[in-house]
Amino acid sequence: MIGDRRTPTALIGAATFGIGEAPGFTSMDLASRAALAALEESGLSLSQVDGLFIALPNDFLSGLSFAEYLGIQPKLTNNNRTGGSAFLTQMNVAAHALAAGEIDVALVAYGSNQRTGVGGLVSAAGPNLYEKPYSPRLPVSGYALAASRHMHEFGTTRDHFYAVAKTAREWAMLNPEAFLRKPLSREEYDNARMVSDPLSVLDCCLVTDGAAAAVMVRKDWADGRTAAYLLGVGEATDHYQIAQMPDLTTSAAKASSARAYAQARITVSDIDVVQLYDAFTINMILFLEDLGFCKKGEGGDFVASGAIGPGGQLPVNTNGGGLACVHPGMYGLFTIVEAYRQLTGTAGDRQVAADLAVAHANGGFLSSQVTAVLGSAATL
C-alpha cells in the first residue's frame, strides 16, 4: 500500500570525505572517495551498484559523469535537483526502486570543493526578472526575510539565533571531523559582520569542501550487517522564490514531517536524535517548530533552553551541522550520514543513546522540505 514502509530499506554504509579543506581534489574526486568509503563499510563492491543517485553543484549532468567516472553502468540514474534536500528525495526514489526490485544496490553521493576549488558558495539559482532589480543577496536574503517575519510575529531575537550558533560549536567540539571546533562567545557573535539583517556571517553556514555518501539495500540484504533502516520519507514543496512562500513562518517541513512520521508510524515524542539542515540559524528554529518538537513561535525559547545541545533532552545536529561541521554547498546528505552514525553507535565522543532518528533537509529558499525517519534494528 502506498505510504507503507513495513518493508523498509537499509543503509549499510555511510561515509564522509574531505570535510573542511581538501585542496587539489575536484568535486567528483571527493564524491567518489566518499562513495568508495561507504561501499567499503557496506562490504559490497562497486560493480554491485545498479542504482546511482547524485547531484553535484556545478555539473547538471552529474548522473552521467559520475557513472562514467566510477566506471559503472547503472540501471537507474537519478540526478534530481531540489537544492540541498535533493539527496533525501533521491533516497525516497531509491527506496521505492529497491522495494520494487528494480535495483539491488543504491549509491547516493555528493561532493564539492567549493572552499578551495572555486573560492565561494556555488549557487545553482540566480535571481529572475521579479527579483533581480532588488539585488537580494541570495540565498541569505531569502532566509533573512523569513527571519524578519518570525521576529515580528513571535518576538524571536538574535539572542535565540546566538543560542543556535553557539550550540552548533558545542557539538562540533566533540567531532574530530568538524571544521570549526572552538566555542563561540557572545562578543564574537555580536561583532560579526552583518550580511543581510537580521543575519550576520555567524548566522550563515560554513563554506567548506566535503563529500558524503550512503549505500542502500533491501532489508533482507542487511541481515547480519551493521545497518540503519529507512522507516519513512516525506517530501513537500510549496514555493520557490521567497516572496511566493505562502507563510514565511511555517515551512513545508510541517507537511513533509507529518508524511514521514505517518509512514514510519511514529509520533514526534518517539524521536531520540535529530539532524536538521541548518543553512542559517533561523532554519533551526523554524524546523524544530515545523517538525513538531515545540509549538509554533516557541522555537527561540526552545533552542535557548539548552535542550538541543550536548546533554540536552533532544540532541540536534550532533556533528556540528552546517554551521560548524561542514557545508559544501548542499548539506542534505550529511544529515543522513550523521543519523546513520548515531543509530549504528559509531559517533564517538558525541554518541547519544538513539534508536530513532530524524534527518531533515531543506532546498532552495525554504522551498523544498524532506524529512526522513531512520531507525536502528530495534525499531523494526
Binding site: 521579479y130 537580494p136 526575510l145 543581510s196
Partner: protein, 132 residues
Amino acid sequence: MQATRPDKEYLEFLAQGRFMLQRRRPDATPFFYPRVAEPGTGSTDLEWIEASGFGTVHATTVVRVRPPQADYNVAIVELDEGPRMMSRIEGVAAADVRIGMRVHTRIVPFEDHHAVIFVPLDGETPTEELQP
C-alpha cells in the same frame, strides 16, 4: 486581453507607467508574478487589471555592502489586492523600514526596462534610477 506573453506585456505596461496584475475573469483574486495561467487552477481566461499601488511591508532585510556603496533594503510587500512581491522600499533609510509600514509604488528605470519599487506613504521622493 489574453495574457499570452506575460513578462513582455508586464514590462510594456510598466514602460507606460502602469503597474498591472493578472487575474482570472471575471473577478478572481489577482496574482503576481505574471504567468500564462492562474497558479493552482491553470485557467488561461485572464485579464490585466491596474494595481492600486498600495501595499504593506510584510518582511524586510538590509543588504550590507562594502563602502562606498550604501546598504540597501529588500522587502516583501503584500499588495492591497492580495499577492506578495519582492521589492525595495526607498525614501527611508534601509534600516528604518518596518514590517506593517504602508507603502505605495513608484515605477523606476532598471537596466533596459522598468521595475516597481515602493516608498512609504507620505515618504520622500525616491531616487530616479535603481542602482544595485
